[in-house]
Structures are given as structure tokens and as C-alpha cells.
Symmetry: C2
Subunit: 799 residues, 2 copies
């Protein structure tokens, strides 16, 4: 049906294409467990496939089959090994960050406390200076060394897993900046957390391990370099994300669900198990390290450290009347969360347009100003607050008032005239955030905080969190969100205690619900957030309450704007493809969507100068290749990618003098490229057209594009509903899609039963109990073509 | 480009198709939150759209837009309401089953125990008789009333969610059979569980609620009948599955993950939240009911009941040396699990081919024989076992020996000569399975069981489980699996205690690991099983150990055969489409897959007699429709489904005398069908061709198929790799796919940025701050066509 030379071209394209591990067009088309890469090693077998030795095909195929089995097992082992490695490394990174932060913060507070015994002014100055130095070190690292490490990194990772590669987010320098930057910024007491950066850290570690280290710093190892396809890399990064969450919250199940719900766009259940494994490894590593630290080997780390706020001694039962205040918490969370998203959006836009244009010095000054502001507020406000007398000591709860000096705990004695007094504002403000949250969540401390203190703290901290968001330091939103939420949650809890007159209500439980509601209202996560909250509080019984609060806060927040990650991704120009099409698409056709630019197509054999001028004249990344049958009719034979054209232009080995297609049967012509050359580089931007130097002689030569084509990109008819097109594009993770005219004939219909090939064979084997028969049967399927399908269609039957 | 009358035909097809809520071809193409159904109610607006009033289009569109918003909110509320309803109903069903089973079993054991105080022979006979009556009632219900309720039901549900509708699995009678059948079979002491049936029960409840009750039993309510599309129904069934698992194990997170990992084939993250909500509701309902039952209102229910085996007082730490015996447990689990799958496969095949062909009487006799056998073994074997003396009483553990009569607990005094003796075999064998598991998992009971007893029990129970599997009663494999696994787990634990000489090792923890390993080796579930085990034992710290064991047992099992659900699904002829394509497909083309039968296509206007003869002559479910342009070239204008053709034939309203296409511009012709008519019926098999009576006059008339077409089914070129075709088919949940010749032109390329429509508009709004501008812009997009796209392609540019 197709003319012969076109058939050859398509055939050689198919063979060549199957050798390219990074089929840019179809990152998810290859099946799991690395068979995508396999083809590369099988390449030799496929390459030497000749038309004269077609009878040997079955034999070769069997040999390849055997080798394949071994190779697939090898790849499977390697993948699991990498999952293990990612888990261990991310766990260790998390432990390192936590130990460092706790030590810096602990040292800072112990120094300050020992100085304020003599002079509050001197303590104030020392406190401000220590914070300033820590924040300055963080912002210096970020601005000078790794600008991509600023912010939380989750929007960028989300974009990467959605198919948008933001430059620089997975480099080694970004990893370094993220780790040390977040130590400085969190240790320096800014209103931000280390959890978002940990997710980014996990992703960086995964990506770097997958590419075998950093190419720039010559840490590359050939041995590690097995993951070349986009899909494998994405799988690794997904593992890394889950590992980051698991490490940040010690929540392995939450980590898996976070990766599943929030981050990845494509998900296969085979991947899930590996991701889960990574998360569990992280949990083991963190647990082992914490056990090791218990003996006091880690300095100030130990009593603080990893966030895990056990509320297992909180309230267990709740009456139906309590559901109303809980619903109110949900509404507040939705409103404050949506407001937070909107404010940060405005501020980030303003910063980007006015402030950060002026260079790194402005960024450094800005971060330092925020640091001083934070220090002044967190030290100065408690000074203005009158101390309260300690409550009656309750030996059952084991909580002392005031707390012993230099320790963590409730009831901080700060600027009080008497010894048995405590400053409730200092208890939450003049503390690391982890400890503050622990104090807010704590049970059996009814009436510890006055509502004025909580309200002051809420307003101030909310303001600080908004201002801090977007400075050039690594910044997570989880912990500030929990701080804000638990403050108003505890406020509501206090009113409930007051008006419901029930003493078995614990304010700490309300604080927990408040935290969940604010995170729900801002991040709009659902299942994963729910599970994370349950895992960090270690109390499965609160699940329905957390869920109720999240349902409400997410619904309220959704009425106003998108989640913070989506907003930020949009602001940064990361075009995320939603999982569902927009409503407007129902009334549009495929043809209407495909841009206003005309389609630039290439002939099969193209002159080098034409390729260069086409690549210069537009920015398209993919070009259809058109050939003509002997009768002169045009025929689309495939898609060639800009990046592949650039590789061909650079290497020049495929240039030929003849403007005629090279025929594989005449010998001599085989693919001269290593498939690795076509793999997308991880950390560089790839080849640039300007870097390629072509002589005038080169420009007069020709390239036969047939071996470099993707011979069958997905196609849609011109008038297909855009909703359907969107689903095709999104579900299969495509990058290019051809819009073609309506077909004139249908050669066949594929239904479910046509795709159950092996099952049918299994039945054969089952019946015949002979594998040799099975192989023959299989080969028959491979070589014979369906004679009916090629017959002209019998559509005159009914006319 | 297309000739005018074809364009009209396609247009009217698009309008009509958009009205059909159940677009059989594309169950997942419509976007979420019921916009799929929406079109039906918008139908009127679309229908009255005329070419004369095209200027009104923008206004109408705006009105429809407003109504849409309201309707979408309404549907959203309805969906959440149904999720709530499913949760409550499934929870109540689970409570009902559990209370009934516990009461029957409790009554049975208390009667037997009171009789054996006098005579063991009389007790034996009474015990056998009670079991026999219970099992007989179960098998009678199944064989006479609801044959589809036999077995676990999970393979069938899995098939349904994969797109294969086994007849009868979601009927009301199946629900009834499942509930009462499993009460009988579990209460009757057979070696099976009630967890699998509960999953099926949840699915039935969801489906019945979704269709508004049973049509057959006139419980149908119009009000409920909002879910007509396949996709909505599947979403409900997914919710039901998760609810079933959540109810069976009181594991809400495990339920979600089970539905995600094991059951559904298509998953959207929007659905996840709703599924989670349902699961949490179930947890609340079950918890409330159990709280209510605590006061003794539920008879024997209360101390037993829902499986939840708290091992929180089990061991917390483990040395690295213990990992070896744990790995051995994993290997044993893999081997025994794979053997179990293979044995049950053989036995089921044999049963199907030899036994169950002979009718219901054989099935009843078989079940009764199995019941008697089970009773004899579980009563008789402990009689042969010598009693052991009680250990020293340990007041800290609170475990009495022997246990008080009529109660649940360890150390059963059965056929012992002395009072302070117990029979270790009776402790696990002569008990409900839930209690036996609790006894096996229990901590602080080192040396309670002798290894002979455990080994005897293991062999006997394994045999019973294999024999019981496949009898005509509702049967779950979870609890028997846990029984088998925990037995050999405890055995290994005993050896560890003996040889490692560590007294802080708890045999109960090893029993738990054994249970996980056997389930992993048989069912091959991973994440969900892990989470379920953690949730039922309420001990998060064991997660890494459970995961290790599962990893090993699944890997070992996979070396031999598929998971039990896949094996059973294949045996029952449910063609499940795997999520990844078979390796063989890489070397095949689309054309080779599409069967040997020739494509039967219809012209646009077709004679009724031709339709009838085509429908009679083959069994295809979809037919391409071909029209001709004015120049005589054929053009594929869409796909028509057999079921829709049957509806048209039955109603006859669309028959016309003229063999010419009806033109919507001449008026008179509009779609005379209610879209509901084309919706796929839930519980009946649909219209049969033989039921349609056509007069000879009817047969001479014509039908214009244009309004009934799916105007743009997905298409693939003939030589596309079958791997790619498979992915397209599987990911989008298709039923039919057209294989067409290679296109001759590319009209456009769609890339990511072309699909980010609304985002671009949002930017506009943001910049202009005027919604009116936005609407105009939007409408412009809807009405104007891209002029470039229709120009002939400039592919001569470079030739």
C-alpha cells in the first residue's frame, strides 16, 4: 500500500527510534522495568537485522529474549538498589539538617538566656546578631552559589514531574544550597520551615544519584549512569520526593501519598511499591539516627529535633456539639489560607517586578532586614507582656513551671519579676518553631495562654510569614502554617472550654485541628495531609475530625483561589497541565487549538542549509517529516525533534552527498550514532544552534532523516473535541501531537480482545503444555500480516 | 475542506453525541464532577441552536455557562452526599454482618461448651449440626437466589473497574446473597473470611445507590437516578470497594490504598479524596456502633467482633540478627502463597469442569460435606491432643489460665483431665478465626503453643482452606491467609526464642509477620496490605519489618505464578487489561492486532434491512460510518455502537423514507430521543435484536446515522507500534479504536502550550481586570477558526 522506499524509511526509523532511550515524544510509552533502555543493548541485534537474513529472525529473537530476561532482572535489581540508596541518603541529609538546626538554635537560645540573666539589652543584641549571621550565611549561599535553591522548591518539582524542566533545579549546587541554606534560615529563626526544602533535597539526591553524580564537579561515575530515559529519571525523582516528606515528618505513608496526590502527574502502581520502600528506608534511617542521638552524642539535638508532636494523651472522645466549633476552625482555616495565598502572590509579584530585578545585593539586604524584624518582634513583644503566676503544680502531667533553664518545655520564665511566674507570649514566640508547636499542641495545660497573647502572636506571625515568603532563602510553608493554624485552633479551643464548660476538652487537640485547617486552606492537599497529620501526631483516632476540618477548609479556600503551589508555579511560568481539561475545551476542535503558526515540515531527505534556516526561523521543537509516494502523493512518515536535528548537525557523520534516500539494503548505511547521544542531557541546556559550525561544503550536503524519526507519533483528526485531545495528551504524557485530516478509510478496529495477546497464548500453552509450540505461534504473529486488513474496504456492501 | 453535507453530518453528530451521557466509547473522556451529565440538561440549548440565530450564540453560551455553574455545584453536592451514603450503608452492613456472625458463633460455642460438660459425643454432634445448618443456609441462598454472590467477588469487581461487566455482580439479589451468605458461611466455621465479601458488598451498595435502588424489585427512585455515565458508576463502585475494606479491617487509609492499588484501573486524584471521605465515614459508623455495643446490647458481639489485633504491647526493638528469621518467614510465605494459588487454581478448574456442571444439588452437597469435614477436624483433632499444665500466673499480663468458661481468650480448657490445664490445639482450632488470630498474635504468652500443635494446625487448616476455596458460598481469603501465616510465623518465632535465647522477642510479632508474608505471597498486594496490617495491629513501628517480609514474599511468589485475584479472574474469563503492555507488542503493528475479521462499515444513510442483516451477521459492537464527499471520495465520519443501533431500531422514530441525509437547516429534523434511552442499562443485558419486531415496511426505510455517531473516535495509523496503541487504549479506557492509513498531511501540531488555554485567559483577566473583556475573548476563540490551519500545507518550501 505504501510505496516501497517509504516503507523502508519508516522501517529504518522504527529500528533507530527504538534504540533511542530518551524518546522525547513518549516518555511514558515504554513499558516498566527499564525495557525502554533495554532496546539500546539489544540494539546490535536489531541493527544487524537484514532483509537477506530474515529467516534467522526467529532465532535471533529467541536469543534476544533470553538476554532480555537477564537484563530486565539486572535493571530491576538496580532500580531497587537505587530506591534503597535514595532512602538512605535522604534520611541522612534530613538527620544532618535537623542536628545542625537544633544545635545552632539550641546554642543561640542558651547563650541568650545566660546573657539576659545579667542584661536584657545585651541579650537582645546578641540574639539579633546571631540570627543575622545565620540568615546572612543562608542568603549568601543562595544568591552567590545556587539561586535555584531559593523558596520551597515544591512547585518546581511538581512542574518537573508534570513534564516542565525548570533549569537548574536538580543540580548538585542546588542540593548544597538547599541543605546549608535551610540550616541557616531555619536556625536563624525566620518564619519558615525546613520541610519543603527537604522534599526538594530528596528530589535532588534522587536525580543526582540517577545520573551518577554531578557532571560538572567530576563526581560522575560510569557505573551509576544507567538511567537515561526521562521516565526513569522521573521515577527516581518521585521516590526522592516521597523520601523527603517521609524524612521531614517521619511519615512514610504520608510521603507516598504526598508524592501520589500532590507531586506526580503520572503514576503507575508498580512505582508505588518502590516509592513506599524508599519511604520506609528513610523512616528506619531517621529512627536509627535518633536512637543513636538519644545518648547525648548530638549536642542540643535530642529532645527537640524531628517534628513529631505526640498528642496520644489528648482527648479521645468528642460530643456532637463540638463539631460546630470544629467546623468554624475549618472555615477560619479556609479564609486565612486563601488570604495567605493571595497575599504571598501579590508580594511575590511585587518583589519580582520591583525588588529582585536590582540584583543580589538587594536580595541580601532584604533577607537581613526580615531577619532583624523577626528577631525584634520575637524578642521585643514578650518584653511588653506581663508575666502570669504559675498554676498549681500537677505531678501527674510532669510539667514544671517555670521550666528549668536551658531546657525545652512549657512555661518560659522571661522578663518576669518573680521566680514562679511565666511569660506566655515568650513560651510560643521566644522558642524554636518546633518547640512552640509542641507547646501549643500540649495537653493538660488548659489556660496556659491568654487569648491576648495568642491573638498578638497570630497577627504578628502571620505577617512575618507573609513577608518572609519569597525572600531568597530556602523556605518551607509547613511549619509556619502549623504555627498559625494551631494558634487560632487553640483560641477556639479556649472558647469551647469556656462556653461548653467541659473539662475533658483539650485545647491541644483544637490546636492540631487548627493546624490541619490552615494547611488545608493554603495548600489544598487532602489525603496526604490527613495522613501526615495523623502520622506526626501518632493518633489514628483523630482522623475523622482532621478530615472534617480539611474538607471544610479546602472547600472554603477553593472558592477564592488555587492552592499555594499552583499559584506559585503559575507565577514562575511553569505551565502545569491539570489532570482534567478545561470546560471551554468542550466547544473547541483540535484544529483550533494548534496555534496560529503554520506547520513547518521537512522532506525525508533534506539539505543541511535548509535544516539550519528552519531551525533558525522558528522555535518549534518538533517537525513533521513528509515523503512522497512514487505516484507523487504526500505521506507523513514521522516526527523529528529539534534536539535530534541538532545532534545530527553537530556530529556531521550522517551527512551525504546524494539527495536520494539511502537504502539499507545497499549496505553501508547503518546508524552511526550511539543512542546515548540522543539522550536528553540532565543538567545542561543541550546543544545550541550557534555552537555548531558548518562549512559551506557541509551546508550543501543532505541528511536522510528516516533513521531519526519517531515513525508513529499519536494523531488526532482535525475536528476532534479538544477535551478528548487534552485527555490523550495529558494521560499519555505527550509533547507533540499531529492534527491530521479525517481519514478516508478504516483498516481495522481494535477492541479489548485484540489486545489480550499473551493471555490467548497462555491459554495455548496451558492446553498444549509445550513451549516450543508457543514460540512458533508467536513468531507467526510477528511475521505474517493480516491479509484481510490490506484489502480495499468493502464499504460498497450496503450502498 | 470537507464537503458541506458531511460537515453538517459531523456537526449534528457532535451535538447529538454530546447529549448522550453514557458515551460508551469514552467513559473517561468527560471531565470530572459530572460535567458529562450536564450536557444532557444543556441539551435543549444546544438542540435549539440554529444557523439563523448564530449571533445569539454568545448570549446563549453565557446563559448556559451560568446554569452550568449551578448544575456543577449541585452535582458536586450530590456526589459527596452519595459518598456519605455509601459510607454509612457499608458501615451498617459490616456491623450487621459482624454482629450476626459473632452472635451465631458465640451461641454455637456456648451451647457446645455447656453440652460437653456432660458429654463430648453429644457436644460433637450438636456442633456439627449447628455448623451444617449455617452452611446449608448459606449455600442454599447462593445456589437458589444469587449465584453471583459465591466466592470473594474481588476478581469480578476488579474486572468491572477494568471495564469488563460480568453479568449480575452488582444486583440487589447479589447484595442480599452476599450479606446473608457470608453470615452463614463464616458463622458456620468454614475456613474462609468475611472480608472479601464485604468489599463486594460495598461495591453492590454503591452501585445500587447510584442507580437509585433495584429496578427489578421496584425500589427505584427517580430522585436518586442521577448517575448515568459509566464513569460515574465506576467512581461509586470504587468508593464502595474502599468502604468495604475500611469496614472489614477498620482501616480507612488501607481501604483507600486497596482501591487505588488493587482494584481500580483508572484513577484520578479528585476521586481519591471522595474515596477517603467514604472510608472515614465507615470508620466513624463502625466505631459508633461498637461503642453502642460495648454496653452489652449486641449479645455475644463486643469482645470479639471486628478484627483488630492490637499488638501495641508487642516487641518494639529488633536486632539485626533477627532479620534472617524474618527473611525466612518471607520466603516461606512466598512459597506457601504461590502453592496456595496453584492448588486453588487446579481445584477450581476441576470443580468447574466436573462438579459444578451437574447442577445446584451437587454444589449444596459439596458445601455440606466440607462443613462436616471442617467440624470434625476442628472438634476431633483437639480431642487427640494431650493437655498441657498452665504456666505460672502472671498478674501483669492479665491473662488467666484456663480462661473462664464461655469467654474469649487464651488457654482453652478442652478435654482436659485437670482444671489447671489447657489444650493448645483447641485454643486455636476450636474458636472463631478472629479469636484464634488474636490468640496467635498475643504477646506475653511465650511457650503457649507446642510446635506439634502449630504444625498440625498449619497442615490441616491449609488443606481446609484449599478445599473450601471455590465452594458455592461467599468466601474471603484474608482471614484464612492470616491464620495460616501467623501459625508458621509463630513457629519461626518459637525457634528464634529457642536459639537466639532472647527473651524480649515476642512470638506474637513473628505471627504478625507470618500473616503478612502469606497474604503477600498469595495476593501480591504491597502498599495497601502493608498499611492494612499496620492499621489492624495499630502499631506503626512494625512497618519496616512488615515491608521487608512483603518484599520477599511477593518476589518469591511472583517467580511462580500470578496473584490469586488475577489467576481467578483469568479462570473466570474476565479479560483484565494490565497497566503495562506485553513485551511481544513491541514488535507488532496496530494493523496486525486488529483481528482477522474484515471491517464492516455502514454508510451515513443506511437501509433498515441492511442494519438488521449486519447486526445479525456478526457480533461486533461498533461500526465505522463512511460518507462520500461530493467528489466521491470516502470519508470516515464516525463510529456507531451496536447498542445505539438497537435503540434506534426499537424506537423507529428516526426511520425516514428518503435515502438522502436529512439536513438540519431544512428544519423538522431534530433528535427525537431522550438521551437517557441511550444510557447503558445497569442490571439488564440491554435490548436484544430478536426482541425487535420490524414490519416489511420498516425494513424498506432508511436511517440517517449522523446524529447518533461518535464523530471522532481515537485513531491510530496502521503501522504504529502496538505498545503505543496499547497505552492509548488502556490509559484512556477505550472500547474501540480505529486503525487508519498513514495521513498524507499534518494540519497542525499540538504542544503543551496550545493546551494551556484558560491560563492564558487568566493572565488576560489579571492584566485587564475586566471580566467582560474575558468573555468576549473567549467567545472569539469559540467562533473564529484559525485561517492558517486551513491553508494547504507549505511543504514545498524546502523540496
Amino acid at each position: 500500500m505504501l510505496s516501497n522506499h517509504i516503507q523502508n524509511g519508516i522501517e529504518s526509523a522504527r529500528l533507530a527510534w527504538s534504540r533511542i532511550p530518551n524518546s522525547d515524544e513518549s516518555p511514558f510509552v515504554l513499558d516498566d522495568d527499564g525495557v525502554g533502555i533495554l532496546k539500546k543493548n539489544d540494539g546490535s541485534a536489531v541493527e544487524s537485522l537484514d532483509y537477506e537474513v530474515i529467516e534467522n529472525f526467529a532465532y535471533r529473537e529467541e536469543q534476544a529474549h533470553r538476554r532480555r530476561k537477564l537484563y530486565v532482572s539486572y535493571l530491576l535489581v538496580v532500580k531497587w538498589f537505587f530506591a534503597l540508596l535514595i532512602g538512605i541518603c535522604t534520611g541522612l541529609a534530613a538527620v544532618f539538617i535537623n542536628i545542625s538546626v537544633e544545635n545552632f538554635a539550641g546554642w543561640k537560645y542558651s547563650v541568650t538566656f545566660s546573657i539576659i540573666q545579667k542584661s536584657y539589652v545585651a541579650g537582645f543584641i546578641v540574639y539579633i546578631l546571631i540570627n543575622l549571621v545565620l540568615v546572612y550565611s543562608s542568603v549568601y549561599i543562595i544568591t552567590q552559589f545556587s539561586p535555584a535553591a531559593a523558596g520551597s522548591g515544591i512547585p518546581e518539582i511538581k512542574g518537573y514531574l508534570n513534564g516542565v524542566d525548570t533549569h537548574g533545579i536538580l543540580l548538585f549546587r542546588t542540593l548544597i544550597g538547599k541543605v546549608f541554606g535551610s540550616i541557616g534560615s531555619v536556625g536563624g529563626g525566620l518564619a519558615l520551615g525546613k520541610e519543603g526544602p527537604l522534599v526538594h533535597t530528596g528530589a535532588c539526591i534522587a536525580s543526582l544519584l540517577g545520573q551518577g553524580g554531578s557532571t560538572k564537579y567530576h563526581l560522575n561515575s560510569r557505573w551509576f549512569n544507567v538511567f537515561k530515559s526521562d521516565r526513569d529519571r522521573r521515577d527516581l525523582v518521585t521516590c526522592g520526593c516521597a523520601a523527603g516528606v517521609a524524612a521531614a515528618f517521619r511519615a512514610p505513608v504520608g510521603g507516598v501519598l504526598f508524592a501520589l496526590e500532590e507531586v506526580t502527574s503520572w503514576w503507575r502502581s508498580q512505582l508505588m511499591w518502590r516509592v513506599f520502600f524508599t519511604s520506609a528506608i528513610v523512616a528506619v534511617v531517621v529512627r536509627t539516627a535518633m536512637g543513636w542521638c538519644k545518648s547525648g552524642k548530638c549536642g542540643h539535638f535530642g529532645s527537640g529535633g524531628f517534628i513529631i508532636w505526640d498528642v496520644s494523651d489528648g482527648q479521645e472522645d468528642y460530643s456532637f456539639a463540638e463539631l460546630l466549633p470544629m467546623a468554624i476552625i475549618g472555615v477560619i482555616g479556609g479564609l486565612l489560607g486563601a488570604l495567605f495565598n493571595q497575599l504571598t502572590l501579590y508580594i511575590t509579584t511585587w518583589r519580582r517586578n520591583h525588588l529582585h530585578k536590582k540584583g543580589n545585593r538587594v536580595k541580601i539586604i532584604e533577607a537581613c532586614l526580615v531577619s532583624v524584624l523577626t528577631s525584634v518582634i520575637s524578642f521585643g513583644l514578650p518584653l511588653l507582656r506581663k508575666c502570669s503566676p504559675c498554676p498549681e503544680p500537677d505531678p501527674a502531667s510532669g510539667i514544671e513551671c517555670p521550666r528549668p533553664p536551658g531546657m525545652y518545655g512549657n512555661y518560659v520564665n522571661f522578663f518576669c519579676s518573680k521566680d514562679n511566674e511565666y511569660n506566655d507570649l515568650a513560651t510560643i514566640f521566644f522558642n524554636t518553631q518546633d518547640d512552640a508547636i509542641r507547646n501549643l499542641f500540649s495537653a493538660k495545660t488548659i489556660n496556659e495562654y491568654s487569648s491576648q497573647s495568642l491573638l498578638t502572636f497570630l497577627v504578628m506571625f502571620y505577617g512575618l510569614a507573609v513577608v518572609t515568603f519569597g525572600t531568597a532563602v530556602p523556605a518551607g510553608q509547613f511549619v509556619p502554617g502549623i504555627m498559625i493554624g494551631s494558634t487560632y485552633g487553640r483560641l477556639v479551643g479556649m472558647f469551647v472550654v469556656k462556653y461548653y464548660r467541659k473539662l475533658n476538652i483539650e485545647e491541644g487537640t483544637y490546636a492540631l485541628l487548627g493546624a490541619a485547617s490552615f494547611l488545608g486552606g493554603s495548600m489544598r492537599m487532602t489525603v496526604s495531609l490527613c495522613v501526615i497529620m495523623v502520622e506526626i501526631t501518632n493518633n489514628l483516632k483523630l482522623l475523622p475530625l482532621i478530615m472534617l476540618v480539611l474538607l471544610i477548609s479546602k472547600a472554603v479556600g477553593d472558592a477564592f483561589n488555587d492552592g499555594i503551589y499552583e499559584e506559585q508555579a503559575r507565577l514562575r511560568g511553569i505551565p502545569l497541565l491539570d489532570s482534567k481539561p478545561k470546560y471551554e475545551m468542550r466547544n473547541m476542535m483540535a484544529k483550533e487549538a494548534c496555534g496560529s503558526g503554520r506547520v513547518v515540515s521537512l522532506p525525508r531527505v533534506v539539505k543541511v542549509s535548509d535544516v539550519v534556516s528552519i531551525l533558525q526561523s522558528n522555535t518549534h521543537n518538533g517537525f513533521p517529516v513528509i515523503d512522497h509516494t512514487r505516484s507523487g502523493e504526500p505521506l507523513v512518515i514521522g516526527l523529528v525533534l529539534r534536539s535530534h536535528l541538532l545532534v545530527i548537525l553537530q556530529s556531521k557523520v550522517d551527512f551525504q552527498h546524494s539527495p536520494l534516500p539511502s537504502d539499507p539494503r545497499t549496505g553501508g548505511r547503518s546508524i552511526r550514532h550511539d543512542s546515548g547521544e540522543f539522550a536528553k542531557p540532565v543538567s545542561s541546556k543541550g546543544i545550541c544552534l550557534d555552537d555548531i559550525h558548518l562549512t559551506s561544503e557541509d551546508l550543501e550536503m543532505y541528511i536522510d532523516l528516516a533513521p531519526f524519526l519517531n515513525p508513529s507519533p499519536y494523531i488526532v483528526p482535525e475536528d476532534m473535541s479538544l477535551t478528548k485531545v487534552y485527555n490523550l495528551f495529558r494521560q499519555l504524557g505527550l509533547r507533540h501531537l499531529f492534527v491530521v485530516p479525517r481519514p478516508s478509510r478504516v483498516l481495522g478496529l481494535i477492541t479489548r480482545k485484540d489486545l489480550l495477546i499473551e493471555d490467548a497464548e497462555n491459554v495455548n500453552t496451558l492446553e498444549l503444555q509445550a513451549t516450543s509450540v508457543r514460540i512458533q505461534h508467536q513468531n507467526k504473529r510477528l511475521t505474517t500480516r493480516n491479509p484481510d486488513a490490506e484489502r480495499p474496504l468493502l464499504n460498497g456492501l450496503l450502498a
